[in-house]
Symmetry: C2
Subunit: 432 residues, 2 copies
């Protein structure tokens, strides 16, 4: 594919969307990546940087010549530059990028960077189309025709009062379908709501999703219009939140398929270390019953079944709860109902599986009491799994810890410890 033939390569990549070029770069090895960037030369599009996975941006920026980088950064919209800066750890690289910007753009970016991280202020674009409340449709159209640098994407005209506070908005469709003499305020949308500049981006995304917003004005402490957030930004946040939850639940940090081996090893080590701690805890429980295990070695054979079923059932409850907390479908008002229901579901499934594993234990080892022991342990562990699976995320959420981050470890620790303790403890009491 890569015969170093720049002309042919550029011809082939010409029709590609920057997002696709970024994907291509992500899928190459780092050697090939450098070659491709060198071949692209000053055809390197600034948008490729925005589309690139965050973990790769530093490497790619290093690979670009200063001229190409300056050119690329200048092509970007200010909110994309902010996004780029956020992902860079090295202050030097941040400085290089800021230096590439011209006066007013640089100011806009620096202002945005002064807003709290993950806030609406970082997310918004500063370019807005606002109209005084007395304007008619005709005024708005004339204004837009005479304004040269309108935002690249906008969906509403925001109506502001004399103190530049947004009081409503009109969709462009409504503006275009109304007569020139119609007042803007007469065709404004019902869905109007403003977003404070310091609102968490997660709450912003929730509002867009819940109320089907397309764009929403951002206001400062005095209620004055400072920018606008559009649905594509909100969609991005939503997508990142989802990904974060998924990865956190699996005990992976902010990892990507483009990361290098050592990054991966470093990322996963702490989670595995925590897991080792909880596994050792479970082993300590087992160690209390060495004499029971010595007497009936069949217990060692069946022991993992109880723990595994508990872990699985706990993960089921927990995932539903973590998800419902993230979408705000699980709140104080239905919390207790959900806890009761999960516990009851654990009891019912526990009884069903108690019968099944009881028969397995009886048939396999020919010991009726072994069947009884594993059946009882199964009921206990599935009830505890249902209870812990929903209670632990709720408690973590209450104390301000992201439930996706820590629930998994806690829940499986509980089910392992309870599973081994119930099974071996009952065996000691009943079989010996």
């Amino acid at each position: 594919v890569e015969a170093e033939d720049q002309a042919a390569l550029l011809a082939a990549m010409e029709p590609m969307h920057p997002a696709d070029v970024a994907d291509l770069l992500e899928q190459l090895g780092s050697g090939e990546r450098r070659e491709l960037i060198a071949l692209l030369g000053d055809e390197f599009d600034g948008d490729i940087l925005s589309e690139l996975d965050e973990g790769l941006r530093e490497e790619v920026i290093d690979a670009l010549s200063p001229e190409v980088l300056t050119q690329a950064v200048r092509e970007l919209e200010s909110d994309d530059v902010v996004d780029l800066l956020e992902a860079l750890d090295e202050p030097e690289q941040q400085e290089t990028i800021l230096d590439a910007l011209e006066g007013s753009d640089r100011l806009a970016v620096e202002q945005a960077m002064s807003f709290p991280e993950n806030s609406a202020g970082r997310l918004m674009q500063r370019e807005v189309v606002a109209a005084p409340e007395h304007w008619t449709v005709g005024d708005a159209i004339d204004f837009m025709r005479s304004t040269l640098d309108l935002p690249e994407q906008f969906y509403h005209i925001i109506i502001v009062d004399p103190r530049y506070r947004p009081i409503g908005y009109v969709t462009l469709g409504k503006v275009m379908s109304s007569d020139r003499v119609t007042k803007l305020v007469d065709v404004q949308e019902e869905s109007f709501r403003t977003i404070p500049f310091d609102q968490d981006e997660e709450d912003v995304a929730y509002a867009f999703n819940q109320y089907h917003l397309i764009s929403a004005p951002v206001v400062d402490d005095d209620g004055r219009l400072v920018g606008v957030i559009t649905i594509d930004d909100a969609m991005n946040v939503l997508s990142e939140e989802h990904e974060e939850d998924l990865l956190l639940l699996a005990g992976v940090g902010d990892e990507s398929i483009a990361d290098r081996t050592l990054q991966i090893v470093r990322q996963r080590f702490p989670w595995l270390l925590v897991n080792l701690g909880t596994a050792i805890l479970a082993s300590i429980v087992i160690a209390q019953f060495e004499d029971v295990l010595q007497a009936v070695v069949a217990l060692a054979v069946l022991m993992p079944i109880v723990a595994s079923m508990g872990g699985n059932a706990g993960t089921q409850s927990m995932t539903v709860a973590v998800r419902a907390l993230a979408t705000r479908d699980l709140t104080g008002s239905n919390g207790w109902r959900v806890v009761r229901r999960e516990t009851l579901a654990g009891l019912l499934n526990g009884m069903a599986f108690a019968i099944i594993v009881g028969i397995v234990g009886l048939v396999w080892f020919g010991m009726p009491m072994l069947g009884v022991v594993i059946a009882l342990a199964m009921v206990i562990n599935l009830v505890v799994a249902g209870l812990a699976g929903v209670l632990i995320p709720i408690i973590l959420d209450k104390v301000g810890v992201d439930p996706a981050l820590a629930s998994g470890t806690f829940v499986t620790t509980v089910t392992d410890v309870v599973g081994f303790f119930a099974f071996l403890g009952l065996a000691g009491a009943i079989l010996l």
Copy 2:
């Protein structure tokens, strides 16, 4: 809260968005839910039905009087009615809703239902704003002013050729900022791309996300314009896909926090049954080493550590792989590189944890060779976990099974079986 005082209740709920009313209904118990619906009476807004969790719709529809239901359904846009119909299992309820619609609306809905499930045809709205290629900005504005039933939300004017095939589109912002004499084709967007009516909705959502689309025209087999999909529909699909992946990975089906206990029990039982099967498989492996366990009972104590670490490491690799497959960041071209990297990461973390658990085994039980056994087993199992964690999802994806659905079970089965076999097998060879 509920003193059955209808007037006060309605006053309190008046300013609430239908999405919030739906959330409230989801959080109530089913008795309270019925009461609230009865109290709302004919103030029940059709949009509440659309916003409601799919699992609850049947119950709420049953609770509505026929008149209220008819009224509610008529308020909805045709694509929302389609969405409503898709979620209903009972043909009677589907019939009731279709009967509520008037002639042309009913026809539109029935046509949409004739498209394949989960296709672009189901997702699109049929209301479009199209313009012949020779039109100017002025023509478009005049047309829109004279047309009474424009779509409620639209962001582009689609330019069509004489055979009604879309050839480009113009953003409303561009239309409004251009002079009346400007030709539409001269201000069209570069991002234009059409979507075939039978494209899978997952691919549609991918295109919106990848190319930052706001709306896209849908075409039939002859390339003729049949509808338009907007970003909010795509956002919905994306959100559902994410949720599905998350729940499937945890072994939960299409479950919601509003489901009843018996629904939950039924939903989770099959997954737990599969897990029981794999747990028994692991037990069978352990049973092969009963004599070893009998000789060294410390093995039973440490045994779960190896399996648990393997399961955890495998889940880490697997989640990253499943996610990368879903976002199409993992493809044929980088598949082998990712497999090599995961295996190497498994080896490195395996060696790190081998040292740690080796020391634990040595110190705890004072048997140096036990430390060696668990260290070796740890390396083997973490390498296998890395390999299986990425290979299994790739293979499932290749053979057309959703990797999120089945990977988890396969991966943990592999790590359990390999973990117990390696640990007890090595113990048998080295310690006895």
